[in-house]
Symmetry: D2
Subunit: 104 residues, 4 copies
């Protein structure tokens, strides 16, 4: 089984720049040991189960709650029966169908 989870999380107050908060979240993601990819609009984590990835997101929430009054997040989950390793393979599958390389 493979759960691909894309999420973004940020406080909705105080300051326009969110990168310091994103860095604290990414530190937790990085230390979870799960495969992940940081993109300009969020972070994609792959786990064997949905619960495994949700656990990392819960920890990230707890981290930001220590000094934020309001935190927003948006999460997409693509769960599928079958093998792990989709973090790299999904882009390849699209490029193969299209017959050429894309910006990725």
């Amino acid at each position: 089984m493979s759960a691909l989870v894309e999420f973004s999380m940020f406080p909705t107050e105080a300051t326009q720049s969110k990168s310091a908060f994103v860095a604290r979240v990414l530190d937790i993601v990085d230390k979870s040991g799960l495969p992940y990819q940081l993109t300009p609009m969020g972070t994609i984590i792959e786990g064997e189960t949905v619960a495994e990835v949700m656990n990392v997101i819960n920890q990230a929430y707890e981290e930001l709650q220590t000094d934020c009054g309001r935190v927003y997040s948006s999460i997409k989950i693509d769960w599928r029966k079958g093998a792990m390793g989709r973090l790299g393979n999904k882009v390849n599958a699209v490029e193969e169908k299209l017959g050429r390389k894309l910006n990725s």
Copy 2:
């Protein structure tokens, strides 16, 4: 503290109609005992913590995984310090600012 969580969850194969699957998810939500509201585009649950609501979503995933090969979901979380009871209050706050009633 209050975590308002809006989510939709459905299999992305086999059939256009998703209502039978949504019904099974809603049965789990309903039995969780947490306050919730079903909308035409998803379900909104309120919990004291993010983890409490995530737990219900994990259960819903496990339910659909029994007979689905691929399940997609989209989740938005609006966490805030302060009192529970936002399921009804947020719409009121907007109508108050606007000075008139809206379709809700």
Copy 3:
């Protein structure tokens, strides 16, 4: 054809409370003449085409850009061949499958 579009839109700076901004967006939605429903986590609009609803969202963006430096939004689109009128029918279909009334 029917495009059901759920969206939320808010500035990510300055203040925790977003209801004054949401009210300005809702004013535009309300005046568009399209059927809609305000929920605690967003607004659901129904149009015949995706472009018709996107046009309303573009107008809302232009409104908030007059005095905001950064605006975030999250949008879900469920487009389907077939008749309009899904704003009310989708909840009914789920309740019918489940055989009982839900909080909606």
Copy 4:
């Protein structure tokens, strides 16, 4: 001004594999001439205005509507006053705050 838009779009019927449909959408994105990045969970496009990117998404919808009965999409928009070029800069800003390189 810069509108960073992340979106995913796929039919919710018939087949588990979505890559052939994603390829058709990516072909439209690629030909739009706007800077973009394909990720395992969606596509990120940068435009000067929200409307400019929405226009590409509308075209992608029209393409899939030719042979799909139901199409779902999820969109996130991060609009900001200031210069374009955020497709590469956002990841750098997070890594700088964290003081080390991340998987991106």
